[in-house]
């Protein structure tokens, strides 16, 4: 990756941007004329009802679906110039529903976030495990470390999902509906967690309801 200027530069450094973005899927226009610019350390919430295109926007911004027209800039580079691996080291996208086919411990799941940093056929290194455990600690889920992800409650699973994104150690952390299926108390807890994460990550999240957008977008 070429540019990684400091956030303190005179001109604000654009970490993630879209210009006149249009995305068509299966002949239907999902996103039209979307422009945005997100800088380092920002906390951004994308709010809209079901079917508004929040998830598609997030997928387009992470290169998982191609833009029909317009431009996406990730870390000062047009996204089409970046390899999938480079993108995965720049933006972590975490889905709200993690469904695992086999019994998997929380620390094993979170260690999967180290995949973009790995090389060769060996499993997670000691360093990777350390980083994964640090991510679990940051979300306050150390007590869940050795539990099977599939036996966790919805709220606990969201914590594991956020830890998975953090373990990817990217400048941008994108969460797709991180508070879906949660009651109000757990929603507030996740929101507080996202605000309080004492890191430099830019955090982007999508949510349906507008009721507490100001709270959690911070």
């Amino acid at each position: 990756m070429s540019a990684n200027t400091s956030p303190n530069d005179a001109t604000p450094y654009e970490l993630l941007g879209a210009k006149n973005l249009q995305v068509d899927l299966g002949g239907t226009t999902i996103l039209r004329d979307v422009s945005l610019s997100i800088g380092p350390g920002e906390r951004v919430a994308i709010v809209g009802p079901n079917g508004a295109g929040k998830t598609t926007l997030m997928r387009a911004l992470s290169g998982a679906v191609p833009a029909t027209s317009g431009e996406i800039i990730l870390c000062s580079e047009p996204i089409q110039n970046l390899s999938r691996e480079t993108i995965a080291r720049s933006i972590a996208v975490v889905s709200s529903d993690i469904a695992l086919p086999f019994a998997t411990r929380v620390d094993e799941l979170v260690a999967l976030g180290r995949i973009p940093h790995g090389r060769g056929p060996a499993g997670p290194s000691a360093h990777d495990r350390e980083r994964a455990n640090a991510a679990i600690e940051r979300v306050g889920a150390s007590h869940l470390q050795r539990r099977d992800v599939r036996t966790l409650s919805a709220g606990e699973r969201q914590l594991a999902a956020v830890a998975l994104g953090l373990a990817q150690e990217t400048p941008i952390l994108a969460l797709d509906e991180p508070t879906a299926h949660l009651d109000l108390r757990h929603r507030m807890e996740i929101a507080d967690l996202l605000i309080s994460l004492a890191g430099d990550e830019t955090i982007m999240k999508t949510k349906r309801s507008t009721s507490c957008a100001t709270d959690s977008a911070a």
């Binding site: 997928r59 992470s62 998982a64 390899s83 999938r84 691996e85 480079t86 993108i87 995965a88 080291r89 972590a92 996208v93 975490v94 889905s95 993690i98 469904a99 695992l100 086919p101 086999f102 019994a103 998997t104 411990r105 094993e108 799941l109 260690a111 999967l112 976030g113 995949i115 973009p116 790995g118 060769g120 056929p121 060996a122 499993g123 997670p124 099977d148 599939r150 036996t151 990817q168």
Partner: protein
């Protein structure tokens, strides 16, 4: 994890040496080592070993034991790969129709008037191999594997439909086979009788190559735990990696089936055992599955040749109750 793998590798080596010596003519483990050392590496050891023992070890038992190891490792590794790829704990190496294709290919070969040299070189094995590849190619084509449009459920359904169709064709061929029925039936049961060095080499080379290359894709297969979307966000080219993994797992399975016929349950059960020991990451599951599959088939084949039944019967006899036990534990709190 590394310790588990090394320990099981040591166990495999010990069992293999024991199994080579075990049989109607018992040969002590040290003599087995001496014979192998002398015949393969020209080591000046074991002066008092009879020519008969040497010929039993080198011409009959060693190729058979190596075949059991290769086939067991191939089936368990490709089983682990298909379970990860399709995100389905019930997937096995035959999930894309490999077994039915191979069986049909072999059955047709038994009916063809091929004799002499073609037979010696493994006409049936070649036909089984081609049949297995053809059925996977058909499933691949219909389900659109690697097109980016495929749905996992539809891959499984297409695999099932193609396998059923081939099984119907196999029944027809068996009806028409007359005196060859017993030979075809033997292939369906799976067995390692009459493995020769050339046949072993023909299967072991692609098996070794495919399983090693598959193990190298472990990072991508680990990402598949999170599904296509999740894997994409971890930097994996999902379509490309799926094509590669299906091709490699199919090559290993087809080679194993060509050599040993339809040996069931090894590819289904062993990966689950490996996951119990080292967790669900394919990078840990692959090596342990390979060793565990080799060990299981080696033990099953030793029992099989002692009591004189096809090894596929033994693996089903061990595997089916074992699977039921695993499922029972699943209800009691442990989940596959």
């Amino acid at each position: 994890m590394r310790r588990t793998t090394l320990l099981s590798l040591a166990a495999l080596a010990l069992v293999a040496i024991g199994a080579i010596g075990f049989g109607v003519a018992n040969i002590a483990p040290l003599d087995v080592l001496a014979i192998i050392g002398k015949s393969l590496f020209g080591l000046p050891i074991g002066g008092e070993i009879s020519a008969g023992s040497t010929s039993i070890v080198m011409e009959i038992r060693l190729p058979r034991i190596l075949a059991a190891i290769a086939v067991g490792a191939a089936l368990a590794t490709s089983g682990a790969a298909f379970q990860s790829l399709l995100r389905n704990p019930l997937a096995d190496p035959y999930v894309l129709g490999t077994s039915s294709g191979a069986a049909l290919g072999a059955a047709i070969a038994f009916l063809l008037p091929i004799t002499g040299i073609a037979w010696e070189l493994g006409g049936v094995q070649l036909a089984a191999f081609v049949g297995a590849l053809a059925s996977v190619a058909l499933v691949w084509r219909i389900a659109g594997i690697g097109s980016g449009e495929e749905r996992i459920a539809s891959v499984l359904l297409v695999g099932y439909a193609v396998a059923s169709l081939l099984a119907a064709a196999l029944s027809l061929v068996m009806l028409a086979s007359g005196a060859n029925l017993r030979a075809i039936f033997g292939f369906l049961l799976g067995g390692l009788d009459g493995v020769t060095w050339p046949r072993l080499a023909a299967a072991a080379v692609p098996i070794t190559l495919a399983t090693l290359l598959l193990a190298r894709r472990g990072r991508a297969l680990a990402a598949f735990l999170l599904g296509d979307e999740g894997a994409t966000h971890l930097g994996i080219d999902v379509r490309r990696e799926r094509r590669i993994a299906v091709a490699l797992a199919t090559l290993a399975t087809a080679s194993a089936v060509a050599l040993a016929g339809l040996v069931g349950f090894v590819g289904l059960v062993v990966p689950h055992l490996a996951r119990l020991a080292v967790g669900s990451d394919p990078r840990a599951v692959f090596p342990l599955s390979a060793i565990g599959g080799a060990l299981l088939l080696l033990l099953a084949d030793t029992v099989a040749r002692t009591i004189g039944v096809p090894v596929g019967v033994i693996t089903a006899l061990i595997g089916a109750p074992f699977l039921l036990w695993l499922l029972h534990r699943a209800r009691a709190g442990y989940a596959l």
